[in-house]
Subunit: 218 residues, 2 copies
Amino acid sequence: MPRLADHDQRRTQITDAARRVVARAGLEAATFQSVAAEAGISVRLVQYYFGTKRTFLLATHQAVVADAGTRFTRRLGTLGEDPVPREVVRALLVELLPTDDARRQDTVVLNAFHTAALTASDVDGEDTLGAPRYLVAAIADQLRRARAGAAPSDDGAEHRAGQDGDRGADLDAELIVAAASGLAQTLLVDESAGERVEQLLDRLLDRLVAPPASYKLE
Amino acid sequence: MPRLADHDQRRTQITDAARRVVARAGLEAATFQSVAAEAGISVRLVQYYFGTKRTFLLATHQAVVADAGTRFTRRLGTLGEDPVPREVVRALLVELLPTDDARRQDTVVLNAFHTAALTASDVDGEDTLGAPRYLVAAIADQLRRARAGAAPSDDGAEHRAGQDGDRGADLDAELIVAAASGLAQTLLVDESAGERVEQLLDRLLDRLVAPPASYKLE
């Protein structure tokens, strides 16, 4: 039996190779054979570590999600103590956007899993929904924090903001993730959008982090 | 030579078959052979009508876009004379969402083209950007209309709203299309999102069609 550290290292070597293959040629191109060749190891070794095609694909998906999580955490650490909600949401979204080669590869890979789930049978939609659902919940928490701070406390508006806050924050968080996700895919194919990405991201935060205007106006 | 009407009908028969094949099995599954079999005609006939694989794929993409355009126009026709901008934008977005079998198939097909453009060579990203860019421009026009109506005219705010209106409306329109596009893909894999689609769509319009709150508050 290999040592645990070697074991983890080998698994990462294989999922890294799988990510490159998927980014280059789509999920259907990721076979034990192609990934073994990409990693420069034997097919038997890939099979030893992952057993089935499904296990192997889910581990590859999980590796992309785990790397994004690590980047989120690192970026959050640069924001100092008690960052404002808008900055936390911004840090989360920046990690979703394909603004460098590594993130671009990850965005292509996540899209490949999504597309495969629509037609193929090795993975299905539910397999890929954990990360976006977690992200929506994390952003909704930040929106509730932002709105608790913004709501006036002396005219009953706080209570209304609280009611809308629960449901409204969930909907806004889902829209923020949808917009960032749509934008990420556009950035992969539309080079001109790259020039606007910072503006679009700031505009999205300007428009959806604050509570709806009616609560301010009432 | 076939008559023009027969020609159009035959092309539609072939692109309809291609759309079913792509929705079922991805863009890489759409070959002259598979589509001829799906349409119940000869491979030579498909080749006669479309010549190259690329021509054939672009015609299939165009057929999806044209159908969406026809649906937009029909829906706009039901809104009566001079519909408010919010309702026009809503009508456009409803046609992007996979809320029935036909729209679901079209959403899967458009995603298949997007995904193929990331890796394959028969189509590339620029081939698929015409429709979303048109949609962004059409929505931006509606947002400008909405904001021209909303801006106060007696305190100089109109001028500022006009300035933000040009750039702000473009950014908001791009975010609306990104959110609708992200939401459309989520709806394909997350059944629970279907229950929230009307709420999410209305929330998106509530939040992004109106001008930014600061213009109201100033």
